[in-house]
Symmetry: C2
Subunit: 635 residues, 2 copies
């Protein structure tokens, strides 16, 4: 006889409290409170195949309340994923175990997204649901027909990004998205009534969502609510009233269960309370088999799907897209040759638009967008139609004034796969996106940020809009490529590099103002090495000028002026530090020698340039806030 839901759920509770107890660190409260809801979802609703976690048409599950990571580790193990093993779970939060404190998509298959920074899981799920509907519009129900499920906590729903994400989801009518809210009325500081009085259900209804409520500890009521969500064409918020730490008789319902081990005594008491008499980390065979059987539920659907894929004339293209491989024919050479043939003075944001013209025509997987700055970011090409509720096949998203929500949604789209998202805002508002940019980098997601108006060169909008420290702040982030091209040719080269990096997000910092074309040959992608010699100072070289973006032309002028005074000066264009730093020592030493005065020129914070100029070098930049005036006056 298969085990009942509560028994299955108690396996989750036991694993969770035992693992946290063994680590003496972690969050048992959420997994114990949500065990029934998650068990119903994973054993009866979620379409997935533990034997093939990469099945493109699987449902996506995002644990937005990532601190409750033992919930997903338990679910993955119990339904039969290869990892985590019981050994992995025993090693929860220890070096070498894939069961990290918060779930990391790069450590475990089945973890669709790295979560923990609250609110972003919900917002990434919105991106996944967008990707699903978009690919469905292109490839049809036969190949793309799945749902996105989220478990979110009170924290997720207090974070501002949930507002942006939910507003976007309501607007786009993403009915395949279901957010299960762990309504346990507890946060770290105590009761939610310490800090909030809002009616979350009314708020979500205001976004155009379907909202339902259930007793999250009553499996039948949970099923009723899930069914209601499935039946409704709108995105659904399913409020599940639960008790945090359910089963721990003396601590449940209190903040004490949120972020600390229960303690040996309370773990023992919980075992008694739950009627779970098995030793730590032991799941009785019968219960495990019930779980495994549930894990095999979708194998038939998976096999049918494979057959449809094999029969589809779109199968090859679909598989290429989902694998994230660019078409072999993809090339910007012709476009770049055109620039070389007819040099043009233009803003790099405009150059980006032109490059996108060539890119979007070849890469049908791109989905562009902007946080309400389409005309300024130059992110929309003529062939792109809007992606709307009525036409998901569109390849351009009007994200609205939701920079953070846009960035997080792009993460979700990239993680879903099959699409390559890029989105624009002003570079200054990279600050609004920053938590999501960090998750792009950590998650190794191919998201391309088009950040225009990249210096005081934007002029009159003044210091609130003039980036100073943004470039350097982004360069300090691991696994992020920050590109600042100097002209139209470099812009195209940087775009190509960004597109070809499947596991590294990119920021393209682009000028508002027009820049002359500096490159008149294009035999190879010179930006690929991050920095290159643009002007050779010759035998008499005593100075090396380093510059990026709009300041490269300035560096060339300075070099000419020095030349007239008999001082030879090299000029390096350095569009991407991260790539340059990855070059062999001899290349770097050749470009930035010991026997010259090294001078950096960049219209932004100088901090960081000393990496190249050393203590004896010269740094020309801006270490205070800007001002409001025409760009020429400011420079």
């Amino acid at each position: 006889m298969p085990a009942d839901t509560r028994t299955l759920a108690n396996a989750v509770r036991a694993l969770s409290m035992d693992a946290v107890q063994a680590a003496n660190s972690g969050h048992p409260g959420m997994p114990m409170g949500m065990a029934d809801d998650a068990t119903v979802l994973w054993t009866e609703y979620l379409k997935h195949d533990p034997a093939d976690p990469a099945w493109p048409d699987r449902d996506r599950f995002v644990l937005s309340a990532g601190h409750g990571s033992m919930l997903i580790y338990s679910l993955l193990h119990l339904t039969g994923y290869e990892r985590p093993t019981l050994e992995d779970i025993r090693g929860f939060r220890q070096l070498g175990s894939p069961c990290a404190g918060h779930p990391e998509n790069f450590l475990l298959d089945g973890v669709e997204a790295t979560t923990g920074p609250l609110g972003q899981g919900v917002a990434m799920a919105v991106g996944m649901a967008i990707a699903e509907r978009h690919l469905n519009a292109e490839f049809g129900d036969d190949l793309v027909d799945h749902r996105t499920w989220v478990i979110a906590g009170d924290g997720c729903l207090m974070e501002g990004v949930n507002h942006e994400a939910a507003g976007l989801a309501g607007h786009l009518g993403l009915g395949r998205l279901n957010v299960i809210w762990d309504d346990n009325r507890i946060t770290i500081d105590g009761g939610t009534d310490l800090s909030t009085s809002e009616d979350i259900e009314a708020r979500y209804a205001a976004y155009g969502w379907h909202v339902t409520r259930c007793d999250g500890l009553d499996a039948d009521d949970v099923r009723r609510a899930y069914d209601e969500a499935l039946a409704d064409p709108r995105p659904s918020l399913i409020a599940c009233r639960t008790i945090i730490g359910y089963g721990a008789p003396n601590k449940q319902g209190t903040a004490a269960t949120h972020g600390a081990a229960l303690g040996e005594d309370e773990v023992a008491a919980a075992r008694a309370e739950l009627g779970w008499e098995h030793p730590a980390f032991e799941i009785p065979a019968g219960i495990l088999e019930s779980w495994r059987q549930a894990g095999r539920r979708s194998q038939g659907a998976h096999a049918d799907w494979k057959a449809r894929l094999a029969a589809s004339n779109q199968g090859t293209e679909f598989s290429r897209r989902m694998a994230g491989a660019l078409p072999e024919s993809f090339s910007l050479s012709d476009y770049i040759q055109g620039l070389v043939d007819e040099p043009q003075k233009m803003a790099t944001r405009k150059a980006s638009e032109l490059a996108l013209g060539a890119i979007n025509a070849q890469l049908l997987e791109t989905i562009g967008g902007s946080a309400d700055l389409t005309g300024s970011n130059n992110t929309k090409t003529k062939d792109q139609n809007p992606l709307t509720k009525d036409d998901y096949s569109g390849r351009y998203l009007y994200y609205g004034i939701r920079e953070f929500g846009m960035a997080a949604a792009m993460n979700g789209m990239a993680l879903h796969g099959g699409v390559i998202p890029y989105g624009g805002t002003f570079l200054i508002f990279s600050d609004y996106c920053r938590p999501a940019i960090r998750l792009s980098a950590l998650q190794q997601a191919r998201v391309i940020y088009v950040m225009t108006h990249d210096s005081i060169g934007l002029g009159e909008d003044g210091p609130t809009h003039q980036p100073i420290e943004q470039l350097m702040g982004l360069r300090a982030m691991p696994n992020l490529h920050v590109y600042r091209p100097a002209d139209a040719v470099e812009t195209a080269e940087c775009w190509e590099l960004a597109l070809r990096e499947a596991a590294t997000p990119s920021v393209l910092a682009l000028s508002r103002q027009n820049l002359g074309q500096l490159r008149h040959k294009a035999t190879e992608n010179l930006c690929a090495k991050g920095a290159y010699l643009l002007r050779d100072g010759g035998e008499g070289r005593r100075v090396v000028l380093l510059a990026t973006g709009s300041e490269v032309a300035l560096a060339l002028d300075v070099a000419d002026a020095l030349d007239e005074r008999g001082v030879g000066a090299d000029v390096l264009s350095m569009p991407c530090w991260e790539r340059f730093d990855a070059q062999p020592d001899d290349y770097r030493a050749e470009l930035i020698p010991e026997d010259a005065l090294i001078v950096s020129i960049e219209a932004g914070a100088t901090l960081g340039w000393e990496r190249y100029t050393g203590r004896a070098g010269l740094n020309i930049g801006l270490d205070r806030f800007g001002a409001s005036a025409p760009a020429a006056d400011l420079f």
Copy 2:
């Protein structure tokens, strides 16, 4: 006969379109659409005295939709503030004029907050309204009895931070807060229906706000709505249906009026349409006099208030607080002497709590708080009661899981004056607060960020929670002091420095893990110079080790090990780079000489350390993401 409201409002419209036209840059649409609403507010409702913009009991007005800056410049000029003059307005968006592209609180009296980064004006206003109610609870209606008014656009209400701020305001029942929403259904990209379908009024009602709606182009209906808001005890959202660019016959109601000059022809057509026959930048004497008369409306109330202040036995204390001066008696010397007498090993977050014990007892103007990490950030001292809807006199705020909202509210509190806000979260979540931290710095607001769990030393929570690039990203920001103390003594010193900087915000980066006490003398505040010699390598010094925070102890160990091998090594503790960089050359050269190997040790990004170590130095740090494991294993 005094001019009617529409005529007064047309003066705003004319100045706005003329100034934008002269600059050929700016945003005429919002000021023209909202001119009637703003005119009713400024001539009939707003309590202020243009002759004394610093009157503490004035109403606060925040133009959250800061791009419509010509609206506030017009209002300030017309009601009789000394600046901006007509000359200033003619110089809109030009170097030297205080009429910057976006309103800057440090350029013009009457501009209460720097706005432009959308949503933050609303959130700062929430902070102002908190400060008002708190000071009212302490000083009574006689001295503190004013309102906070906001004009917000669709962008402000789409940004996530408005959700956090509105939720907090509803929870705290801030009835003195009125947000006037310019419901013009237009954003930069086009109609709001491109990107949003939400019912904003229902959403605000869900936060516990009073919501009303009016025809924003009908002064009587606007008055009706304002009166309704005043009568309701809850914070109010006043939805004003307007037409962007109202008066420009061919462009009104379209995105074309949002962010560009109307053009000479359309300006002329608007003059005809509005019946405004006066030349550019000319306000007829009668109309100006009506405006000026309205500007003098509150002079009687101001005089009465002054009399009450003079009569109050709390007057001196109130005035000191509003001036932002610390009590002359304020000192942490006794507390620090206690640490020196009985050295203790403790986390610097714990040391911060102890220092706050001494601070909060002496500075009754502090208001602490945390974004739901009170026990982890150690931000609450025993004598602090919660600030709640039922008791605004409390000095501790449970901000909820709203890092950005907290930071922006603290900006508003600091700008309001009379209080010194500090608030905590994990250092990693400084990313969530970053746009507001930047506004603290730009606005010269004394906000103190208590950022704990400041390195991989936090351990098991893993890479989503381990800061790597955050310290450096914050150091790159102008006018921000980033402190990373190494022990309890330095923590107290850094707290004192942060409190004494009235025009510079501070970040205190504090450890989760215990640190030994390194300082055993406390004759002067050694952190004041940003860096100091903690260990003298003596005559044979060949190495200088630079470190901050938890790594200073490590540097001392390394120095001892080098010593054993006959290599003398200095150790510098560098708790605050910004202060060190501001020291005279000779002090810096003495500490970081040319003739030694300079080595930096910090558990974070190395980028930036080359400022001190040069190209020949050594940088020990972490340039990739962390991992989940106990802290000792990670190090």
